[in-house]
């Protein structure tokens, strides 16, 4: 077989032409990971104050009811660690595990169909279940492990800050309203007058796994009781 230089270049040229065509057919929703769009006025975020949380799981139950989440899966979990200290001065620590609504969401980046996307108007990481084929790439890619396959729709599902249920009616997410100790604060990061921004400016907070570059929007205020751990 003789490979002439011209024939090879022709082949490479065809490949490049093909490659540039893919750019036209890609899904537009997935662009939001790297696009520098005009700054939207709303960017929703949440703060979980671990000092106030008592681990009652009212948030989980409220979420299940409002968003019709079936048994066996959950959009939000409260992880308990401890007990710390000597009886009777014992305490537990509680940490909320749910979608972090990352600015650079790994799930959005890996989704082959663009079913996982960032809602540009609100910054909410959402799922377009009509597009989801259930490849579970997003579930494997999420470092916070908060995604699951909804047993009824057979598509990927997770917390969307009640975007389709309560937020659409102008109400706060179900978990925030249900919390008896007001441990959860929901609001607009872009609004300096919001309770959320005031709280974040008043108390030191942390976010999980920031070293992965995900830029999550679920903030935690660390509990100060209990013991020091290495």
């Amino acid at each position: 077989m003789q490979v002439s230089k011209r024939q090879f270049l022709k082949g490479v040229g065809a490949l490049l032409a093909g490659a540039s065509f893919y750019g036209v057919t890609r899904s537009p929703q997935a662009d939001s990971t790297q696009a520098a769009e005009a700054t939207p006025e709303i960017k929703y975020a949440m703060v979980h104050d671990e000092n106030a949380c008592i681990g009652c799981n009212a948030c989980i139950d409220a979420c299940r009811e409002v968003n019709h989440v079936p048994d066996g899966v959950s959009r939000v979990k409260i992880e308990r660690s401890g007990p710390f200290g000597e009886y009777p001065e014992q305490s537990y620590r509680f940490s909320r595990v749910s979608c972090q609504h990352c600015e650079a969401a790994p799930c959005v980046r890996v989704c082959p169909t663009g079913a996982a996307y960032i809602d540009k108007a609100t910054g909410i990481v959402a799922v377009n279940s009509d597009r989801c084929v259930g490849c579970q790439y997003c579930i494997a890619a999420c470092p916070y492990q908060v995604r699951y396959i909804h047993p009824e729709t057979r598509t990927a599902d997770k917390c969307d800050f009640c975007q389709k249920s309560r937020l659409a009616k102008g109400l706060e997410p179900a978990c925030v309203e249900a919390c008896p100790t007001k441990a959860l604060t929901f609001g607009n990061l872009k609004d300096p007058e919001s309770d959320l921004v005031k709280l974040l400016k008043a108390k030191p907070s942390y976010r999980a796994k920031v070293d992965l570059g995900t830029r999550p929007k679920l903030f935690h205020i660390q509990t100060i009781d209990g013991e020091i751990m290495l």
């Binding site: 090879f8 890996v110 082959p112 494997a140």
Partner: protein, 313 residues
């Protein structure tokens, strides 16, 4: 913690089989092209080894894709992956590579077996004849593109997993290279096994040629495996935990040391070196070496997939 069921496990063994078959297909095509280009030229079409590769490559890639589709939670919606694209998604780009690969693969097979197909057709279907003649004129370009696509496909099986940033063992830059090289060696093994099963001469020029490439390939694979795990251990933190957890005692440790290193790499290497000095290669030598190689690569895919998902960041 059980070996096949643990918290955080998302992708199960069907994905490992898919990764194995995609790499095997790419490897078989790669070696068939090398055989034709360097050794057989216009005689390629009646070599049992090229014939075996021409059967194995499409069957493996179809089988792999079939498994992938049935592993979706909504298999009937698989067409959406073909219609909607996301340039940042390794899976989406891999689907594009897979589609182009299959198309060019069939074009290449048509080129190689053009004379045979023409004989079979006789005077029927002149359109097919004309298409074949046109394809044969483009053979150089088709071959070049197919080599690029086969290597892309082999590497893609690794990039698919290395894009998972939450698992340090998978999110590793050496993984795509490791999967590419082990995929190529599995393709070589499948071509050899298929060739001798199709009554190819186990002492023929094809076997000697492929074995000549296989030894360096195995050595490179051992080097890559060493770099893979040494890199993880030196990174410290969860990377180190993941590596030691995978290589230590327990089910997957055994799979790695006995299956991947022992059966998959050491024994074929020993057999290959031995066969080089002995004058005659027999059917059993070729078949057993190839089978061991295939088992090793298959176990490596499962080992990486499962142990990779055991330890998160």
């Amino acid at each position: 913690m059980s070996a096949f069921h643990f918290e955080g496990l998302v992708w199960h063994w069907p994905i490992a089989i898919y990764l194995f078959l995609a790499g095997l297909s790419a490897g078989a095509v790669f070696f068939a092209i090398m055989l034709k280009h360097f050794k057989l030229a216009h005689e390629a079409w009646h070599s049992p080894f090229v014939q075996a590769a021409a059967i194995i490559a499409p069957v493996a890639v179809f089988g792999g894709l079939g498994i992938l589709v049935f592993d979706l939670t909504r298999p009937l919606d698989f067409w959406k992956i073909l219609v909607f694209y996301n340039t940042t998604s390794v899976m989406s780009m891999g689907v594009l590579v897979l589609m182009a690969y299959q198309l060019v693969l069939f074009a290449w097979i048509a080129c190689v077996f053009q004379r045979r197909i023409t004989q079979l057709l006789g005077k029927r279907l002149p359109i097919v004849q004309r298409l074949l003649n046109w394809l044969v004129k483009q053979e150089a370009a088709i071959t070049g593109i197919l080599v690029i696509l086969a290597i892309s496909l082999g590497a893609y099986t690794g990039f698919l997993l290395s894009a998972l940033i939450g698992f340090p063992l998978l999110n590793n830059p050496v993984l795509p290279l490791l999967f590419l090289i082990s995929g190529l060696s599995s393709g070589a093994a499948a071509t050899l096994l298929g060739g001798v099963l199709l009554r190819g001469n186990p002492n023929g020029v094809e076997v000697r040629f492929i074995h000549g490439i296989e030894i360096p390939l195995i050595l490179v694979e051992i080097g890559l495996l060493f770099t893979f795990f040494a890199g993880l251990i030196l990174s410290g933190g969860q990377s180190q935990v993941a590596a030691l957890n995978a290589l230590g005692f327990g089910f997957w440790g055994w799979i790695f040391w006995a299956g991947v290193i022992g059966i998959g790499l050491t024994l074929p290497l020993a057999f290959n070196l031995w066969m080089k000095v002995s004058a005659d290669r027999k059917f059993a030598y070729v078949a057993v070496t190839a089978s061991f190689s295939l088992i090793g690569v298959f176990l490596l895919r499962n080992f990486i997939l499962y142990t990779g998902q055991m330890t998160g960041t």
